[in-house]
């Protein structure tokens, strides 16, 4: 097997002292960057890119990939402990990670996240190693109609997310879509919805801004109002024995989500334009749909933590695939890595895999090593993160506020975004008081900017004929499944009403 010998060489290269040291540093740096609300792998990789000029390309990309890996693990940490997604890829992790933390089971959530990430990364690595060239051509067969169908499916898997109040869920999705439309429209080339003529809206409203506002500020206001300051903090104890039993529980109660996440994450991740965020959201939705106990989701289900976490790690490896085999970025982070390759004097493209075997396989080998390093380092830091939760709320609340503001500013360096965070935080508080679900709005602002242009591109391709979503071999089945899923809750509701009317 040729692949095995290439891989062995790659792993040996990754284990060279310099590279191994860079992996350890990269994973640790990535873990903390990912854990910081607002900052994600994109920021980490972009900031550290110039430094890699000082080492050979092999070591440079291994270092940056290690940061990427670490950040994917780290995103879960603030999702669980602070309730703010550390990056868009970790939004779905808050849905169940946060309730677990509030029940005093933060360590279970973090251990589940770490183990699921590890399995997700490993599954993706193996698939990558064995099938990279075949999968690359699959990625190319996804044009605008296919990507839109996939986004429709992602929305469909989430229809149930907002609970039973369908009108409020729909309102929340629409609100998110409107916010996502603010800014500049590439298709017509015109500015659009620049609210109150404020220039800051030209850039549009980023996911980070909404997420920090809703989950950081909004959640904090909510907690203060609910408890009137008399917060009983959870008092989780951390022992090695406790972690071992958490690990056991994570494996028992999170395995299903882990597998679903690993597979869905990888396949969505390899599609350029989709990437890790839709992958992790879809995995959560599908895991909930296939679960025998869907009512546990949202109230602290380990499966609900495992699915998105396995998916975002699996997807980040997956998004390296179009980068290495085609020279096309599968995610914003890989776009910067591609820029790095040009700086190091390599030509990204279909020839890279053949011409630069040592570079490519060294990187693939490093995935395996980084994944193990990230698991070990992450587990070692869990007590520290859990300890943070033991701080009294009077200290934790200002800390969350400060972290939210710093994270929000660091990502874009703009005061405009900070004001938006505060406004969204207050709006989220009131919406929550009136029982509006907010997760669908966050989902919409993540998926909207992918769904809208692909919808319009598809309709331009077909001169306005919507049949383009049905008569293409890949888009067709996906669209039909999505439509069935969207109609399902309505049909269920009708049946229930009829049954009630009979009684």
């Amino acid at each position: 097997m040729e692949v095995i010998s290439f891989l062995a060489d790659g792993i040996l290269l990754a284990l060279e002292p310099v590279n191994f040291a860079l992996i350890i540093i990269g994973v640790t740096v990535g873990l903390f960057i990912g854990a910081m609300p607002g900052l994600g792998s994109v920021n980490g990789v972009a900031i550290l890119l110039p430094i890699t000029f000082l080492v050979p390309p092999n070591s440079a990309i291994i270092f940056l990939a290690a940061i990427y890996y670490g950040a994917m693990y780290g995103g879960a940490i603030s999702s669980v402990t602070l309730g703010i997604p550390g990056a868009s890829t970790a939004v779905a992790t808050t849905f169940d990670g946060r309730p677990l933390a509030l029940q005093g089971r933060a360590s279970l959530a973090l251990v589940t996240a770490a183990l699921a990430s590890f399995v997700g990364g490993t599954v993706a690595n193996v698939l990558f190693t064995l099938f990279a060239p075949v999968l690359a051509s699959t990625a190319l067969s996804f044009g605008p109609p296919e990507i839109f169908a996939l986004m429709l499916l992602a929305f469909a898997t989430f229809v149930g997310l907002g609970g039973d109040d369908i009108p409020k869920t729909v309102f929340s999705i629409c609100l998110g879509l409107v916010l996502a439309a603010v800014g500049f429209d590439t298709i017509s080339g015109e500015p659009r919805l620049v609210l109150f003529e404020i220039d800051g809206f030209m850039r549009g409203i980023g996911f980070i801004v909404l997420a920090i506002g809703v989950y950081g500020i909004g959640e904090m206001l909510w907690t203060i109002e609910q408890t009137r300051g008399e917060v009983t903090t959870t008092n989780p104890k951390m022992t090695v024995k406790g972690m071992a039993s958490d690990a056991k529980e994570a494996m028992q109660r999170g395995w299903k989500g882990t597998w679903i996440g690993s597979l869905i994450g990888f396949f969505v991740g390899i599609l350029p334009a989709a990437g890790a965020t839709p992958g992790s959201l879809m995995s959560y939705g599908v895991a909930k749909m296939l679960s025998k106990t869907p009512e546990e989701y949202g109230n602290g289900s380990p499966d609900g933590v495992a699915a998105p976490e396995a998916a975002n790690n699996s997807a980040s490896t997956g998004s390296m695939l179009p980068m290495l085999t085609l020279g096309i970025p599968g995610s914003p982070t890989t776009a910067i890595l591609l820029g790095g390759m040009v700086i190091w004097g390599l030509t990204p493209g279909p020839r890279l895999f053949l011409d630069e075997t040592e570079f490519v396989w060294g990187l693939i080998g490093s995935f395996y090593i980084s994944n193990i390093a990230a698991l070990v380092i992450n587990l070692a830091f869990i007590p520290l993160f859990v300890w943070m939760l033991r701080m009294p709320f009077t200290i934790l609340a200002p800390l969350i506020f400060v972290l939210s503001i710093i994270g929000g500013f660091a990502a874009s360096r703009s005061m405009h975004d900070l004001w938006l965070i505060v406004i969204f935080g207050m709006a989220a508080f009131f919406l929550r008081k009136f029982d509006y679900p907010l997760a669908p709005a966050v989902l919409a602002i993540v998926l909207g900017p992918i769904a809208e242009p692909t919808l319009r591109q598809s309709l331009l391709l077909s001169s306005g004929d919507p049949m383009i979503f049905f008569n293409r071999p890949i888009a067709g089945p996906i669209t039909i499944i999505a439509i069935i899923l969207i109609l399902l809750p309505g049909i269920k509701l009708l049946r229930r009403k009829r049954a009630m009317a009979k009684n």
């Binding site: 994109v42 972009a46 890119l49 110039p50 430094i51 890699t52 000029f53 000082l54 990625a139 190319l140 067969s141 996804f142 044009g143 605008p144 800014g183 500049f184 590439t186 298709i187 017509s188 080339g189 015109e190 500015p191 620049v194 220039d199 030209m202 850039r203 549009g204 350029p272 334009a273 179009p322 085609l326 020279g327 096309i328 970025p329 914003p332 890989t334 776009a335 910067i336 591609l338 820029g339 790095g340 040009v342 700086i343 004097g345 030509t347 990204p348 493209g349 279909p350 020839r351 890279l352 874009s412 360096r413 242009p453 591109q457 331009l460 391709l461 001169s463």
Partner: protein, 323 residues
């Protein structure tokens, strides 16, 4: 420690001595704080790649005493970064890495009130030509075959490019006008996405920059048909230019660094020297060759004249497009 007069004097003297050598070596102006290095596009695009390349050369050689802080401000097709520069509070420490939306965005969005001719020229790092590409499976091998094919399909031929009013759409609009072609134009977010969909045969032709299409060209997937450069390109000697075909049109994406309006002459001179060193570096010269960028060296006055020509050209091209 008591701060006596003698101690104060000693401290003052030692500070002066400590800073003397630096002051003596640098002739004149030096940045006093980190330099705002605004990028007119999102992370990962062509302008971003170039900005980070330049930053890495500056850092590796220690060319500035304060770091360059790259920030992506691509919103509103570059409007965000133009406003950021126009309203810069500290023009001496504010730079912009541009592409052609530097010209087109102020024309298309007059409400911005941005006049790029007030900006401070620093350096032109190179210009990026455009090339017409098709997929090898299309069977099209020459520009004439391409024209025949597009006419035969009568409006059903699909081309992809960047957003409406941006570089790709201008090039395609000119070509279509000159040869009376009807194409379906699909706008994308960036050149990478365009190249990917040509590779996947979702679209039938593009006008990608060589740097975006090079990987697929080398793998034999893409066929270059026509260059929109002034002369034939070294990397593609067999590809004719539109000029050879008898149309006086060439189009390049500018890869320049520009200073905020009101930047002092001393600061501008400092940055010209720093980026001049980057330009002359082996790394950048290698980059120009590998990415098929053409050099276009101009001094300040020439750059200003070039800007006002470009603004006029773009005004005309955009008005022809909307007709």
């Amino acid at each position: 420690m008591k701060l006596t007069k003698r101690l104060f004097l000693a401290l003052a003297a030692s500070t002066t001595i400590a800073t003397l050598p630096i002051a003596a070596f640098a002739d004149g102006w030096q940045p006093k704080r980190p330099i705002d290095f605004t990028i007119m596009a999102g992370a990962g695009g062509g302008a971003d790649q170039i900005a980070r390349f330049i930053q890495s050369v500056v850092e590796a050689n220690g060319l500035t005493n304060r770091p360059l802080i790259p920030t992506n401000r691509g919103g509103g097709s570059g409007a965000e970064s133009l406003l950021h520069l126009k309203d810069a509070r500290d023009p001496d420490h504010t730079l912009l890495v541009t592409l052609n939306s530097f010209y087109t965005t102020p024309i298309r969005q007059e409400a911005l009130g941005v006049d790029i001719e007030t900006f401070t020229p620093i350096i032109m790092m190179g210009v990026d030509p455009f090339v017409l590409w098709v997929h090898k499976d299309s069977g099209i091998a020459t520009f004439e075959e391409f024209v025949a094919k597009v006419k035969e399909m009568d409006g059903e031929f699909v081309m992809g490019g960047t957003g409406t009013g941006q570089e790709d759409s201008i090039v395609i609009a000119y070509m279509s006008g000159a040869y009376d072609l009807k194409v379906k134009y699909i706008p994308y977010d960036g050149g990478g996405a365009v190249a990917k969909d040509l590779a996947g045969k979702q679209i039938m032709a593009t006008v990608n920059n060589p740097s975006e299409a090079k990987g697929f060209y080398e793998a034999g997937d893409f066929v270059p048909l026509l260059a929109f450069s002034d002369e034939r390109m070294e990397a593609y000697p067999d590809v004719p230019t539109l000029k050879e075909k008898g149309h006086d049109f060439s189009y390049y994406n500018q890869r320049a660094i520009v200073g905020a309006p009101g930047m002092s002459d001393e600061a501008a001179a400092y940055y010209r020297e720093v980026f001049g060193k980057v330009y002359d570096s082996e790394k950048w010269q290698g980059y120009l060759v590998s990415e098929s960028l053409s050099p276009l060296i101009m001094d300040e006055a020439e750059t200003r004249a070039y800007w006002s020509r470009q603004v006029q050209n773009h005004r005309q091209l955009l008005s022809e497009m909307s007709n």
